[in-house]
Symmetry: C2
């Protein structure tokens, strides 16, 4: 439900370079040759927008605020996207986009072109593909942000080697997507909500269910739970992990509980979906070995005959969503 | 891992009639017109065998003991199957089978024709399809018993209306299978092990993992936990449920915990796999409304934006596995 990619900082991975603008938004990898397309990754806080040229390079990639939720949010959002496109066209008049890729969070029925529900954006059953099609006069590919991101990880990133994989983006919340036979598995938009899979009796989740994975194990939950327990405001989960490593017992307990919750959820995925790999991105993935090695050790200790999946870092950072949107746009161009 | 169908008694459902032999094995529904095939559903305790004629009717359907585990189990099993086939051929000399369907429990790599692991049967990496092919001189379709059963439920039974469904067989253990887009989803044989999906920290499961669903919620676990708590030997889960309804507090607690565990597991499936339906068979499904209505009520209470699946009784009773084996055999005939 949430859009957990957050402001992923660049780190040293292939095909990703630090953006010179200083806004910590990594420049996207190329998506390869094909039609020029416009791409938008709409989140609860901001919109990433770019024009991809025929070489597959992202031009004018930037992040601007999402319009506030309120009356006619779908109409106001599409108007904002048109303004962003007009600026991109003005900067790059020689690039003529042939299609638009638009990805949004929440429950998304991609086949029908409908944003079914998004708590942060305040729409229900919004016909976003048709609205964008009218606004742009171009074919529009419409998809879920994290499924789109997982698709980009499959085509360009950490899930390249796997046709059956689960992508988990662990940031403010936890979002997931499932690849089956090299294709996204959607179930009408309802599949892959691993962050809102209940793993325990509590705590209550803002989504209305209780015991959802993301109430224990998202980067946001780790920081919030530490602040609730100690009163200390911290700079995200990474500070809680650093405090745990420095001998802070409360931080150690909260980090340990988050790892246990993630282990349980991945163990369930292993038993039921049996992916070859779980690709983990989002802010928490920057914990590196402290996360990946420890999850693998706990999974192996808790399961038996099951096939333990490879645990693989996502490679595309915060740009997976917009790269996926551009890849999707190419399919309808 | 276990083979939980057990001795399903017949009940009044379409296309299934009581076998006159008195062994409580329901006669199979027709699988429709096609090639004559031999079909075998091998379990830890017994083998169901039958010859399906060109009308799709099962001839000589019966249950005989599985050879005891031990040295060269795959070879001894295939020899037993050949003996059973010879008897069927003697009884029905005019029916010439064109293929063999063989389904077994455990971890099964159907594509490779390998029984990877089955704790009750004592094999590892057994090339069962090739062994059976040599023994019969016929094409052999080889599959997992519960995936085969779920396929039969999809073609002939309770899952007919759903292309994305999960089939749960709740008996001695809990076995599951996943249909995606109307096809079994296998993940090299590792998918669908819902009975061995961990839902809690404990208890220890005989499979080696801990907190597996089937340690709390199988019919076998319900009876065993009641006996452990009271010393009273009961006639299966149905007696525990009857005692709960009659005011026995221990029985009520154990039945309530089993329902909670099933609710949690189905809630996780709902969030992650989002099937349109969960088809429930095996002995526990005969609890009827006490199971289905209560699970639906608890699922609705515990989830939020998720799409609650239809909860549907399986229709093919203990014959789903052998019907699936026959359907699979038709594919290679």
């Amino acid at each position: 439900m949430s859009s957990p990619e957050g402001a992923d900082a660049a780190r040293a991975v292939p095909d990703v370079v630090q953006d010179a603008s200083g806004d910590r938004l990594a420049r996207a990898a190329s998506i390869g040759r094909g039609a020029a397309v416009l791409a938008f990754d709409v989140g609860g806080t901001d919109i990433k927008s770019a024009l991809f040229d025929e070489n597959g390079t992202a031009l004018g990639l930037r992040r601007t605020p999402t319009p506030p939720a309120g009356p006619d949010m779908p109409g106001r959002l599409v108007a904002r996207l048109r303004d962003l496109a007009a600026e991109l066209q003005e900067q790059h008049p020689q690039i003529v986009p042939r299609a638009v890729g638009l990805v949004v969070p929440g429950i998304v029925d991609a086949d029908a072109g409908i944003g079914v529900f998004a708590s942060n954006l305040g729409w229900q059953d919004a016909p976003l593909r048709d609205l964008a099609g009218e606004a742009f006069g171009l074919p529009v590919a419409f998809d879920h942000d994290v499924r789109s991101a997982s698709w980009a990880e499959h085509v360009l990133g950490g899930a390249r080697a796997y046709s059956n994989a689960v992508v988990l983006i662990i940031g403010t919340g936890i979002a997931g997507a499932i690849l089956v036979g090299g294709r996204p598995y959607t179930a009408g938009g309802y599949a892959g909500e691993i962050g809102h899979s209940p793993i325990a009796e509590g705590p209550q989740c803002p989504c209305g269910a209780r015991g959802c994975l993301e109430t224990m194990a998202s980067a946001g939950a780790i920081a919030r739970r530490y602040t609730e327990a100690t009163g200390a405001v911290v700079d995200g989960a990474k500070e809680v992990i650093a405090r745990a490593n420095a001998g802070d017992d409360v931080a150690a307990r909260i980090w340990n509980e988050a790892l246990d919750a993630l282990t349980l959820a991945i163990a369930q995925l292993t038993a039921v979906v049996a992916p070859e790999a779980v690709v983990i991105g989002g802010g928490l993935s920057r914990a590196g070995d402290a996360l990946f090695d420890e999850l693998h050790r706990r999974l192996a200790a808790r399961l038996s005959f099951h096939r333990i999946p490879a645990l693989v870092p996502a490679e595309l950072l915060g740009n997976a969503g917009i790269l996926g949107a551009a890849l999707r746009a190419r399919e309808v161009a």
